[in-house]
Amino acid sequence: MKPLDSPQIPRPSGASDPIIAVTGLTKTYASGFQALKKVDLEIRKGEIFALLGPNGAGKTTLISIICGIVNPSTGTVTADGHDIARDYRAARTKIGLVPQELTTDAFESVWATVRFSRGLFGKPPNPAYLEKILKDLSLWEKRDSKIMTLSGGMKRRVMIAKALSHEPTILFLDEPTAGVDVELRRDMWNMVRALRENGVTIILTTHYIEEAEEMADRIGVINKGEIVLVEDKHALMQKLGRKQLTLHLQNPLAALPAGLQSENLLLSADGMELVYTFDTQSRDTGIAGLLRRLNDHGIDFKDLQTSESSLEEIFVSLVRGRS
């Protein structure tokens, strides 16, 4: 599924089949802390879904329930049509998980640990496939090294190799690039894209908004155990995004002329720039009218630029607005 430029374009057939369906999911821990409050969520086959949320929002709890590590209090989850409780074997065979924490064995070799993972998930040995994974992740040279001797970035890749060892069609990446250097982050993004091209559905949680902005087809925002919104990334940015038009003036203005006074129009301190904020969704952005009025007042400009608000700004305003 290619990222959609506009919600009006019809989706390719099959794209809306949920590969994961979460219905009425709640989780209250023994401590009484309610981590999830009636979560409903559908993940589409073949997409990259980014789950955003502040610390403690319930991201990891949600993923842990889907993967079978935490028991839900109420609600159901299906993975590729299989109920994760009743039909856990079929459901879990489809799923690979890369948890947030770097939890690896210490004394095993890289090769032994990926072989272990594959067997654990009930797959017959396939050294050629495992070799390919390790090569793709630049771990092949380290296959006989003990995991404890590897760097943090390499351990992270070992965990990804383990998650991919049983050929899952759904991959969960819980904060995959936390504490990872820029180069490795780029590599990981490329790897995720390559997986998606092979038909793997990817659900990632992240703190890095740029990561969601760069990678995701759709974005879900979770806050205080509730899904605040789920939206196509482009639609979300269009819907919530505000654009700014900046005009660089020919001559400085001391003040805005009376006829131009508007809460959307600001004059910079040095009087050289006019900043106009508008909503991309409204029918009339008011740009044409503004330019006409500037002309009427004899204000010339030498350059203009527009800028869009980033996902980060959208995210911050969403989370603040609801809390």
Partner: protein, 253 residues
């Protein structure tokens, strides 16, 4: 049935055994050899026969049992405690493997290791004292049954323990005293009548007695009762493990 999964866990655990071969196998063999030198040869030569068996030979089954108990518990408890401690248990929990299969993998490996150790000790003992085995098939049956039962018990302790201290405390504070007081080094008929009754509450008495019967055909308690008690303890462990997996006790929030 996820046979590949069982095999993966089993081989992973056995790899740990081979990797720590000195600690896993050499150290119990060494400590048992010391027992034979001190109790079997040095002190044993001054002891009277018990039930027509020389003292050195008399303690062989008890010593093997002692090692089986402690090794089974420590192997199995460590095997499941470590993934909990390091966090790698997430992978077991997220895998398409049932509770029964997980237990077969972990307990099977721990029991295998105990059986290997028991066999090595048996061979080592033969170097120090002369003995014969009256019922070899029953001897093997008790060896295997005890290893499995106490590996199950160790698995429970490994799940229950949330610190290394707790992991050590049960084998050290409960199992070792029970093993020493369970007739490993003496026949409970040598005890005063009151303590003979008390000893019957010690499950280890039945294990040692049954195991010794398989060697020399003499026992403190009837061999059928020994076998029955071992099976009862095994079923109790299985019931607790079933409960652990149903409730997710200490492994699943």
């Amino acid at each position: 049935m996820n046979l590949y999964g069982i095999k993966a866990i089993y081989l992973f655990e056995m790899a740990r055994t081979w990797r720590t071969i000195m600690q896993s196998i050499a150290s119990p063999v060494l400590s048992t050899s010391l027992y034979f030198i001190v109790f079997g040869s040095a002190i044993g030569s001054h002891m009277a026969q018990i039930d027509g068996v020389s003292y050195g030979a008399f303690i062989v089954p008890g010593l093997i049992m002692l090692s089986l108990l402690t090794e089974s518990i420590s192997n199995a408890s460590f095997g499941i405690y470590m993934p909990k401690f390091t966090g790698t248990i997430y992978e077991i929990l997220s895998a398409p493997i049932s509770a029964v299969e997980t237990v077969i993998g972990y307990v099977g490996a721990a029991a295998t290791k105990s059986i290997i150790i028991g066999t090595i000790i048996l061979v080592t003992a033969r170097l120090f004292v002369d003995f014969s085995i009256a019922h070899p098939a029953w001897m093997i049956a008790f060896l295997v049954l005890t290893s499995i039962t106490f590996s199950l018990f160790g698995f429970i302790i490994g799940i229950w323990a949330d610190s290394f201290q707790k992991l050590q405390v049960v084998p050290l504070m409960i199992v070792t005293p029970l093993a020493f007081l369970g007739g490993s080094f003496y026949s409970i008929s040598m005890l005063p009548p009151f303590w003979q009754k008390v000893a019957l509450f010690n499950p280890v008495v039945y294990l040692v007695s049954g195991f010794r019967w398989s060697f020399y055909g003499v026992a403190d308690v009837d061999v059928g009762i020994s076998l029955g008690m071992t099976l009862v303890f095994m079923l109790a462990c299985l019931a607790v493990i079933a409960w652990i997996f149903r409730t997710g006790y200490r492994i699943k929030a």
